[in-house]
């Protein structure tokens, strides 16, 4: 009896298993799709809608290298979505965008540019949508792929301006035929009388690389010491210049010995082309700062192609998109899996070193006191 009842139980169990397996086998396909991760379902829908929209309009930095890298890279990845890339200086882009919106024209989808424009023009204009909800692809949304295990934002709300570039900005370059590295690797060494007339300063009164360098000095030394430092540094200068390329060439040609606040982008381009000068990546005593350059991304609200904008944003933040950006702009991506072998070593942040963050909304704002002293010293 016991054997019989065991057999019955066994048959019953086998029957239940078979029925369950059969039920699974004959389930309609839709039931399988429920097993797809939520992100994938959402991505497929966004992609399908983006294809219907057909176009994405991106406002980005000027230059044919970045324009061609973005348009060709995106076309290869998503051949059914046409990209219209418009490259201009960020400030001008924002003014044009504002005028268009005032006139009832909403033509742009994504803005890729400097954090100053994001925080002081586009955010007050209420032209931005939060970025986080649009991060869909796991390799983009998952913070483990990003430096410091987080998505970085330049705006204090942490919503609108996603920072995808973070690189060490060199405070100065020098001519090794005239100066030894150890003579200038501390901030106050630049004030040595032997350098009087041998220093070029990139003008801090116009937008560009000099603004964050002088902000860094101000924040690092504090108002009182920084005021004194600015005055003494200005007195050392042989020239104050705005042409970001020529001032670097002056160092390479030996016309001046030291350039304070060189432009990262121009410097990288000229180094690649074989011009010779040395880079001081940080001061031994005060370090340096991390900048984002043009490497921050925003979503424009009331966009004509919101789904295509989401597809572009996700693509830009993938390893592939970031590598193309990095190669075209010589920028260090905040993504951890993007190769860095094509970049100059001095731009890559060193582990364990604390840098001043130059791209945050707070860091970009000059105090009235600082504004005044810079004007007094540099405006003529």
């Amino acid at each position: 009896m016991k054997n019989a009842s065991n057999k019955v139980r066994l048959y019953l169990f086998a029957g239940v298993v078979a029925a369950f397996a059969g039920a699974l086998w004959f389930q309609p396909e839709s039931a399988f799709s429920q097993t797809k991760p939520a992100w994938q379902e959402r991505w497929e829908k966004v992609l399908a809608d983006a294809k219907k929209e057909g176009t994405v309009v991106v406002l980005g930095p000027p230059g044919d290298l970045i324009r061609n890298a973005m348009t060709e890279g995106f076309r290869k990845a998503y051949p059914n979505i046409n990209m219209e890339y418009s490259g201009r200086r960020s400030g001008e882009q924002a003014v044009k965008l504002g005028a268009e919106r005032d006139g009832g024209i909403f033509s742009a989808d994504v803005f890729v540019g400097g954090p100053t424009t994001a925080n002081f023009q586009l955010k007050p204009m209420k032209a931005l949508d939060p970025v986080r909800p649009a991060l869909i692809l796991p390799e983009v949304a998952d913070v483990k792929y990003w430096r410091d295990n987080r998505h970085e934002f330049s705006d204090t709300d942490g919503l609108y301006d996603l920072v995808f570039v973070g690189q060490v900005s060199a405070p100065l370059i020098y001519d090794p035929r005239q100066v030894k590295r150890e003579e200038i690797d501390e901030l106050y060494e630049l004030l040595d009388p032997k350098f009087k007339g041998k220093i070029v300063i990139n003008d801090p009164l116009v937008s560009g690389a000099a603004v964050p360098v002088f902000r860094f000095i101000w924040e690092t030394l504090g108002p009182q010491k920084a005021t004194d430092y600015y005055k003494r540094l200005r007195a050392q200068a042989g020239a104050v210049d705005r042409d970001q390329r020529r001032q670097i060439e002056w160092i390479a040609q030996g016309k001046y010995a030291i350039l304070v606040a060189p432009s990262d982008g121009v410097m990288a381009q000229l180094l690649q082309r074989g011009i010779k000068f040395e880079v001081l990546e940080d001061f031994k005593d005060h370090g340096t700062y991390i900048g984002a350059s043009f490497g921050t991304a925003m979503l424009i609200n009331k966009a004509p192609h919101p789904n295509a904008a989401t597809v572009f944003l996700n693509w830009l933040l993938t390893k592939e998109g970031q590598l193309l950006w990095s190669k075209a702009m010589n920028h260090v991506s905040r993504r951890l899996d993007v190769p860095i072998d094509h970049l100059f070593a001095y731009t890559i942040p060193k582990p364990g070193v604390k840098y001043w963050i130059g791209y945050s909304e707070k860091a970009q704002t000059r105090t009235p006191e600082e504004e005044k002293i810079l004007k007094d010293l540099f405006a003529r």
Partner: protein, 560 residues
């Protein structure tokens, strides 16, 4: 009178158009300069922008530099341009055609890359010419420094002289030689005839070109920015440039400073009217006129030598340096592992947007030059030949676009078009809007030069046509236009060049679909790739020369 009324019916709407395209955008941007609020915030009005702009203690030396540089430049270029126009149009100097062509070339060449050529030659540390002179003459220091007051003036000479030569030559050509011959028969020397007869008779053209040149000199900033800033020489346009390139741009302050130009323009227009007064400046009458060139004898070789010297030193030398530089890995660096390369040329012409940009550029250039010249002719005719009420106001308004830098014109047009509530909005994103912007921007030059040309023509020519029964339109078409052809051609060419190489005036109005070659050049400048920017600049020169030759061929083919 009924005929005047008929003319008025045709021409009055033109006044409306001039008002709309000049006064409205300029008024709009001046109004917005009083807005203090940041984008997206409720508008607050105030004088803060103006107070900040004019409260700057550094402004006085800046103004002094601006006026000093402009005055010296205009004095030198007036003498040079008058001389060259006289040589080409009124004398028997040999190879006049080649001299004229070379001087035109001076106007076509891109300013910024040409300045790079001068820096490579005249930098006090590494300038090639300086190095050569130090070696040959055994000097202890470089004799020239391009980063200086006189360096700025020197680098301006070729372009400024060429443009004024271009404006003056048609007037010299349209002058009856009988006046000069009468002076010489009366015992005047060649120089005396030039100074006492030729130049005074051409006063409207000389004054118009001087006024235009002076304002353009005041507004010039590219060379001043490159050469002046390192030398500590700041001018008003570089200060405006600072405001425009601040982040976010300070358009209010830039507009406030631009009001200085407005004051200068009003003063110059008033001065011009005062000097010309009610005198007659007709040099072309119904009697038929003599264009026989003045025989200079052996002196013609002296005039020829002066022209060749100017062209060789001021145009060909920096041009040669510039062309050489485009084949260098880095312009001016002879100590690199790989000095020479053709890759900049390859890259410039392999941009995927190049062909579309080229097409847009040609459309813009031809559209602006044809429509613009017709428009300027109509405006000038109204001012010089009719008694329509308000014509003096139109004369004044036609100067307005030069009261603002190109970027602000572009912004003003953007605001005007997008705020037009659907009337002009469809133009946005098309090349048509760029054409409109160029026509507006070049209106002072076009209308003033054609006006000077019209003032040279005696009214008796039109009256004779009228008496013979020709309609107003027939007289306009068969008498006025043929006599003005040299002036109209010069204006058309200048407008074409301005259109194809303009950047600031179109920067806010262009979109992906209406991008021009000059904006590709801007891309290269933004990447600090001056070699490629220079190549695009040279390509624009080539384009203009090809079109000029084609126009000449077509013109000679059509001639009976």
């Amino acid at each position: 009178m009924p005929r005047l009324s008929w003319t008025s019916i045709i021409l009055l709407p033109l006044f409306g158009v001039v008002l709309l395209v000049t006064a409205y955008p300029v008024a709009l941007i001046f109004l917005k300069s009083f807005a203090l609020s940041r984008p997206g915030q409720p508008t607050v009005w105030g004088l803060q922008g103006w107070i900040s702009a004019f409260g700057d203690r550094a402004l006085l030396p800046v103004l002094a530099n601006t006026f000093s540089l402009a005055t010296v430049r205009i004095a030198i270029t007036t003498v040079l341009a008058l001389f060259f126009a006289w040589v080409v149009a009124r004398t028997d100097t040999p190879f006049k055609g080649a001299i004229e062509f070379a001087l035109w070339l001076g106007f076509f060449l891109p300013l910024l890359p040409m300045t790079m050529g001068w820096i490579l030659l005249l930098d006090s540390h590494y300038g090639l010419l300086n190095k050569a002179l130090v070696k040959v003459l055994n000097l202890s220091a470089a004799p020239f420094n391009v980063f200086s007051y006189w360096g700025i003036i020197w680098c301006h000479l070729a372009f400024s002289t060429s443009v004024r030569f271009l404006l003056l030559t048609p007037a010299f050509r349209a002058m009856d030689a009988v006046l000069e011959e009468a002076a010489q028969v009366s015992g005047s020397t060649t120089l005396g005839t030039l100074l006492r007869i030729t130049i005074p008779v051409l006063a409207p053209a000389v004054l118009a070109s001087t006024a235009l040149g002076f304002i353009k000199s005041l507004e010039s900033f590219e060379i001043e920015l490159v050469l002046g800033v390192p030398a500590g020489i700041y001018v008003l346009p570089t200060r405006i440039y600072d405001f425009l390139h601040w982040e976010p741009p300070l358009y209010g302050r830039a507009t406030a400073l631009s009001s200085v130009f407005l004051v200068v323009i009003f003063a110059l227009v008033w001065l011009q009217r005062l000097m010309l007064g009610a005198r007659q400046y007709t040099t072309v009458t119904g009697r038929g006129y003599l264009v026989r060139p003045l025989a200079l004898g052996a002196w013609r070789w002296v005039t020829f030598a002066i022209c060749v010297l100017f062209i060789a030193v001021m145009i060909l030398l920096p041009l040669g340096t510039l062309v050489m530089g485009t084949f260098m890995e880095v312009f001016g660096f002879f100590d690199l592992a790989k000095v020479w390369t053709a890759r900049h040329w390859n890259a410039a012409f392999h941009d995927p947007t190049f062909l579309r940009s080229l097409w847009n550029t040609l459309t813009l250039g031809l559209g602006a030059s044809i429509l613009g010249t017709l428009f300027y002719l109509s405006v000038s005719y109204c001012i010089a030949r009719t008694r329509l009420p308000g014509r003096k106001l139109i004369d004044l308004l036609s100067w307005l676009p030069w009261a603002l830098p190109g970027v602000l014109i572009s912004l003003a047009m953007l605001w005007a078009v997008l705020g037009s509530g659907g009337v002009l909005k469809p133009l946005y994103g098309t090349v048509s809007l760029l054409i409109l912007a160029i026509i507006v921007k070049e209106m002072p030059l076009g209308s003033q030069i054609i006006k000077a040309g019209v003032l040279q023509l005696s009214k008796e020519l039109e009256e004779a046509s009228d008496t013979s029964g020709a309609s107003w339109l027939t007289t306009f078409r068969r008498i006025l236009i043929p006599l003005l052809t040299p002036t109209l051609s010069a204006v058309a060419i200048i407008t074409f060049i301005s259109a194809v190489r303009e950047i600031p005036a179109v920067v806010f109005l262009s979109t992906n679909q209406s991008r021009t070659i000059s904006l590709l050049m801007l891309d290269s400048i933004a990447e600090a790739n001056m070699e490629r920017a220079a190549i695009i600049g040279l390509f624009i020169v080539f384009l203009v020369l090809v079109l000029l030759l084609l126009a000449r061929l077509v013109g000679s083919g059509l001639r009976p």
